[in-house]
Amino acid sequence: MLEAIESAVLLIGAFFVLVGSIGLLRLPDFLSRLHAPTKATTLGLGGLLLASMIHFSVQRGDLSLHELLVVLFLFLTAPVGAYMLAKAARHLARPIDNAPDSPTNPD
C-alpha cells in the first residue's frame, strides 16, 4: 500500500519536473519561461522528496526527516532567485537613456 502511494507521488513529481522543463524550452518570452520551472521546483521536487521521505522512513523503520531540509531550503530560495532574475531581465530590457549609476535612476 505504502509502495503504491510512494510510486504515485514519485510519478506526479516526475511529471511536474518534465512540465517545467518543457515550459522552459517552448514558451515564447523570458517572463513566461521564468514561470514554468517554478512549478518544477515546488511541486516536482516536493513530490520527489516526499516520495524519498516515505521510502527511507519505511526502509529504516523510523522517521526520515533530512529531506525536509532540502524542501525547506528550496521553497525559501526559489522565489528569491526568480525575483532576482525577473529584476535583471527588466533591467536589461530597459532602453538605454541614462547610465545605471546616475542619481535619477538608482538600481
Binding site: E3, A4, E6, S7, L10, L11, G13, A14, F15, V17, L18, G20, S21, I22, L24, L25, F30, R33, L34, P37, A40, T41, G44, L45, L48, L49, A51, S52, H55, F56, Q59, S64, H66, E67, L69, V70, F73, L74, T77, V80, G81, M84, L85, K87, A88, A89, H91, L92, P100, D107
Partner: protein, 89 residues
C-alpha cells in the same frame, strides 16, 4: 512496481535535463541562460534524490543539499552581476 516507477522517473528527469541544456545552449538572452542553469541544478537535485532511492543509500542527500545551496548562490551572483555590473561592491 516501485522499481519501474523509479526507472520512469529517472528517464523523465534525464529528458528534462536535456531540454534545460538545449535552452542553455540556445537561450537568446543572458537571463535565459541563467534560468536554464538554475533549472539544470534543480533537475540534478531531483536526479540525485531518485538515484539515491534506487541505490538504497541516503549518502546522495548531502550532494543534493550542496547543489541546492551552491545553485542558489550562483543564481543570485549572476543576477546581481547583470543588475549592477559588479557582484561585491
Amino acid at each position: 512496481m516501485l522499481n519501474l516507477a523509479l526507472d520512469i522517473t529517472l528517464a523523465t528527469v534525464a529528458a528534462s535535463m536535456v531540454m534545460c541544456f538545449l535552452r542553455l545552449a540556445a537561450g537568446p538572452s543572458l537571463p535565459d541562460r541563467i534560468l536554464a542553469l538554475d533549472t539544470l541544478g534543480i533537475n540534478a537535485i531531483a536526479f540525485l534524490v531518485v538515484f539515491g532511492m534506487r541505490a538504497g543509500s541516503s549518502v546522495y542527500f548531502d550532494a543534493a543539499l550542496l547543489i541546492a545551496m551552491m545553485g542558489f548562490a550562483g543564481t543570485i551572483a549572476f543576477a546581481k552581476y547583470l543588475l549592477r555590473g559588479d557582484i561585491i561592491q
